[in-house]
Amino acid sequence: MNLNDILSNPDLLPWLIPVGPLLAFFIIMLATNRAKMVPATSHEYGGHHPDYDGMKVPVVTLQSRILSVTVGMLGTLTAWVLSLITVSNAFGAQHFGEEVFGDRLNWLATGVGEFTMGVLVDPFTTVMLIMVPIAVTMIFIYSIGYMAHDPRQSRFFALISLFAGAMLTLVVADNLLLMFVGWEIMGLCSYLLIGFWFEKESAYKAAIKAFTTTRVADVIMLLGIAYLYASAGTLSFRDILYNEAMLEHLASTPAIILGGWGLSAAGLIGVFLIIGTIGKSAQFPLHVWLPDAMEGPTPVSAMIHAAAMVSAGVYAIIRMYPLFEAGGNPHAGEFTTPLMLMAIVGGFTALFSATIAVAQNDVKRVLAYSTISQLGFMMAALGIGAYIAAAFHLITHAFFKALLFMASGSVIHGMEHGEHHVHEHHAHDEHDEAHGHDDHHDHGHHFDPQDMMNMGGLRKTMPVTFWTFLLGGLSLSGFPLLTAGFWSKDEILADAWLGLTHGFGAPAFVFIMLCLAAFLTAFYTMRQLGLTFMGEPRTEEAAHANLGQGIVSFTMTLPLIILAFLAVVAGFAGVHPDFPLFGAIFSPEHNWFHHFVGPTLLHEPASIDFSIVPVLFSFGVALGGLGLGYWMYWRKPLEAGQPDPLVSILGTVHPVLKNKYYLDELYATLFIQPSQWFARVVVSDFMDHGIIDGVLHLIARVFTWIGDLIKNLNIWLIDGVGDGIPELIAIFGTWFRRIQTGRIQQYMLLVVIAMIVIALIFAVSSGFLVQAAG
């Protein structure tokens, strides 16, 4: 079969979608990542690395830099083009949803059967194939500029290519196992990219934290996969989820463990899989890795927070949704265990992390907590059965969060630029006036380009960044009618409200939590915008912050503009047809998003009737939060040296929020330190060295004593009786004497004997056991 056949066959085409970026990874790693050696003191090896006096270090050559960027871009563009072809195929297909694109191959021999690997494009995959490649491509373009001076840019492009390839693999997978492959490779990529500046302690610690925390969830998810495979005999999505008999079977079988609690097989599998998502999508209590994950270069944060990693968690749940719902019906008030878990965890996380975001001063950290909170929105929505709304929010969130992260990256880049400027300026001063050295030195050391308290007034020097950041922020806040965030968030609230009016507990809980969270979201977004862009610069660096000119500035600005456009218009794809005015304009026949994605499920979710109450709530919380933020941070912008007004308002609560409820400290005390102690002291020293080896050595000592006794006896016998005693004993004795040359050699014999004795005791006793039993 030649390439043309594959390209023209919509069933086979999805195979090729992840290939471009994956190939790019291998090409860059093996071919275009060449380094030259430069002194470590050279400016080419600066930035995030310590200086190594007089040592030469490898720095990627310019040629490799250009080639790697080209290869990486080509890989992702190929993926984009192929995705677009697939998307257009999907739009053109009849009864899409019932009919899907897909293909499978035998992959693993399992007894007489085979496990098949395959690809699947259904309506939900299609919308992901619209979102992911766009976001990824924007991130790639942005990285060209952002990483232009990094000594390891080739490696960076290789890794984000692998990242993108893994995400696309996950999206087109037709079974849970292949999805898990993409899932875990993304975990590896985020580990490597968070720790990209691996010489920094904070970076590698964050990387390890991310990998370990998500692994807690992943090993449990692996159990879910194994259990599902054991119960269903397949892991193919369509075979399980589009098959009512199968779902019924899973929902009516009691769980293999904990079945006594009334849990069904589907329930337990669902709980295991959801725990996987709780880790991946950073939900309480496994959210702690995500805020630290911004130690990586900013494009990575955008990748993790928007296009790939955390979206994958929610994607997986949406993908497997019928399994979680099996045996219940959230619209009739029957919530299965997995649904309840999602509603509670999602609703709680949404509000919980929004409260933390309020008190953060790091520009990226605020966004990190907002991601956790928004993912909580999606989880909660899924918990109450708002399938379409969650999927919709996943897409709109990806656009505005990618935008926000990259815009914040521009801010940081601009601030570093300003810092550089000030640095040079001071250096000149030193030459001229021969003072201020210490000043500047201290200054350089303590200056944090990510701290919003050091910013202010950036709208003047970085206007494009300001306006795009503003649009992204408004979208995140759910600014009514004009932003994508409003429409998707509103849909979630509408669903929750519907459940609430029926008197169901879970939707009521979710509605309240999400309204509060949405209010805080609007507030902290305004706070962030105000502190960063409004008023006058609070530091000299902020006054000089800008992106400069040329390719760096261009590649870092273009993606912002494109994403800002999407952060506004993407919401119009999912407007309720009965929404006043907007419904008539954007959804004359039906809600496009709902209509297109709905058939992904065997039972298309019903549209809910339009209700004005949740819309009013949406208006209220968004405008209320924005208004409060405006009143506190825009009306009278903070001046240099002035404390954050929030500190005095919140009083003793503020440190708790600022320190993230001390969860990191709690986990360190409860889990990390005990496990390190257990590993080193208990298992290695006490158990292996102390007990097992100790017993062996003890037996050895006992036999040494017996050996000495026999030896002395021997000598006595030989001396006393002479040659008459059988030679055997003499040989035995000499042999023993030879063994006496060192302690360790003694053990040799002794442990042999010991082992025989142990084995005999073991054998005889077990023999008796068997005898007794049988």
Binding site: Y52, W107, G111, E184, L188, F211, A679, V683, I756
Partner: protein
């Protein structure tokens, strides 16, 4: 198939020993000639092993390349060799790893002839075990493999080599003694050492009305079982018989560690699959009371110990600061998955034998497929890990990881390979280890559900120690102590590890290049 006039399996067993003799006789003055000759011979033998693997016809249910020649007729033993899918996989693994270990041994400067000869001689022992169809031959080669490894550790090992070599020897011989008795008991009773025949006759053997030598037949069988069980538990190693391993692996020279972890541990697992499961189906499932409280059977006990190996192996590795000991403990962790897979297979096989059927057939096929594939995969990744650990030890002369730090700055290629290999060892999906671990978990879950749940703790800490290793070696600011050292991986080492890396990736992406060979044999054995 014959080579140089002798059948191919006998050739595979004899050729390494002959090569060892040739290498010994070469003039010791020119190290280069000795090294290249040893490598050439090992590559040739490896090529034959590859041919044998691909020449094995998995659809044919019989043992293949079988040769039977009378040898010790008085005892009923014969030179009887042949392979099934499981042995074919192990032969392939041995054939691949030995030349790579020899290539790594190029860094040995003292008594090169002897070192190379011992490695080749070791290969004879390993291949002999994997191809033998006669219990006596099996035992002979099983013991034979100990001797060269003892000297390799004792003569070329690290600072604490004497203790490690002795401990290794004592442990192994301690296990072998019981095995020798059991071998004699089984062979003498049945009047043959033919493993295939024994698999039929020994389980059915009832003595004279349930009494044999004046002892209840079940007790006799249990004694024989324990003889094999302990020997193979030590070799695998199954917790708590593992404490020889960190010392031996830690102190052995790089090539020794590679072959120890890569192949030698598989002798134990292979022994379970070849002997203990087929010979003792009834003992595996016989009820055992522990202190009158817990009722279980030997398969359950074995699974429990395997779980402890997974969990404690991971924790112990996490607690190390010596890089080679860390990698060594990772073997305890990984071989635990082999062991728990074997436990499932043993349970299902035993139930099918005793009750005429079992509900776990399909699960056991998954688990046993996974166990055998894990043996192969662990061979690849542990050998590669030891190669990398040995490489850095050779360059810095310390195994203390706290002395390392930031090596990725100066050794980017080494860093990339180190991470790749670590990830294979960690079981990252897309690489080899995941496939086998997934199969084992899938197979074990319905049978030993709670043990599977607890062993996930081990899988979690696998991540812990792998990341700890990467962190200690590669991350952090470069330790300026090593400023003048060339830490980058050498070309020779890259050549030696490249085949392993390729196999890890290929097995992870297309496991069906090897799994059907295993699967067909396993399926036939378990009656799926």
């Amino acid at each position: 198939m014959t080579i140089l006039g002798i059948d191919v399996l006998s050739f595979l067993v004899i050729a390494p020993a002959l090569s060892a003799l040739i290498v010994l006789l070469l003039p010791s003055g020119s190290k280069a000639i000795v090294r290249w000759a040893a490598l050439g011979l090992a590559v040739f033998i490896g090529a034959v092993a590859v041919v044998v693997f691909f020449g094995y016809d998995r659809t044919n249910p019989d043992y293949q390349f079988v040769v039977q020649v009378p040898w010790f007729e008085l005892l009923g033993a014969s030179w009887h060799v042949g392979i099934d899918g499981i042995s074919a996989t192990m032969v392939l693994l041995t054939g691949i790893l030995t030349p790579l270990a020899i290539l790594i041994s190029f860094e040995i400067e003292e008594r090169v002839n002897m070192h190379m000869a011992l490695l080749l001689f070791f290969e004879t022992g390993l291949l002999g075990v994997f191809v033998s169809m006669d219990l006596m031959i099996f035992f002979l080669f099983y013991e034979l493999s100990l001797v060269p490894m003892y000297f390799i550790i004792d003569q070329w090992g690290g600072p604490n080599r004497k203790y490690a070599a002795t401990k290794f020897m004592i442990y192994s011989i301690g296990g072998s003694l019981g095995m020798l008795l059991a071998t004699q008991l089984v062979g003498w009773t049945a009047g043959t050492f033919n493993i295939q025949d024994l698999s039929q006759t020994w389980p059915a053997f009832q003595g004279a009305e349930g009494v044999f030598l004046g002892i209840d037949i079940n007790t006799v069988k249990a004694l024989a079982f324990v003889g094999f069980f302990v020997a193979f538990c030590i070799k695998v190693p199954v917790w708590p018989f593992h404490t020889w391993l960190p010392d031996a692996h830690g102190e052995a020279p790089t090539a020794g560690s590679m072959l120890l972890a890569g192949v030698m541990l598989k002798l134990g697992a292979y022994g379970f699959l070849r002997l203990v499961i087929p010979l003792f189906p009834d003992v595996w499932v016989a009820q055992v009371d522990i202190l009158g409280v817990i009722q279980t059977n030997w398969a359950g006990i074995f699974a429990f110990l395997a779980m402890l190996g997974i969990v404690f192996g991971a924790f112990a590795a996490f607690g190390q600061t010596d890089i080679k000991r860390l990698v060594a403990y990772s073997s305890v962790n990984h071989m635990g998955f082999v062991a728990i897979g074997i436990a499932v297979a043993a349970l299902a096989y035993g139930q099918a034998y005793v009750n005429g059927g079992t509900e776990y057939t399909q699960d056991a096929i998954f688990a046993m497929n996974g166990a055998v594939l894990q043996m192969f995969n662990h061979g690849l990744s542990s050998a590669a890990m030891f190669l990398l650990a040995g490489g850095i030890y050779h360059k810095t002369h310390t195994r203390d990881m706290t002395q390392y730090g930031g090596f990725w700055v100066k050794a980017p290629i080494y860093g990339a390979i180190f991470i790749f290999t670590s990830m294979a060892s960690l079981g990252l999906p897309g690489l080899n280890g995941f496939v086998s671990e997934f199969l084992v978990v899938r197979g074990t879950w319905p049978v030993f559900t709670w043990l599977t749940v607890i062993s996930m703790l081990g899988l979690l800490f696998t991540g812990g120690y792998i990341l700890k290793g990467i962190r200690a070696v590669l991350h952090g600011p470069f330790n300026m102590k090593w400023r003048g050292y060339n830490l980058e991986i050498e070309l020779r080492e890259v050549v030696a590890i490249a085949p392993l890396l390729v196999l890890m990736l290929v097995t992870g992406v297309v496991p069906n290049w090897i799994l059907p060979v295993i699967n067909d044999t396993v399926t036939r054995l378990l009656g799926g």
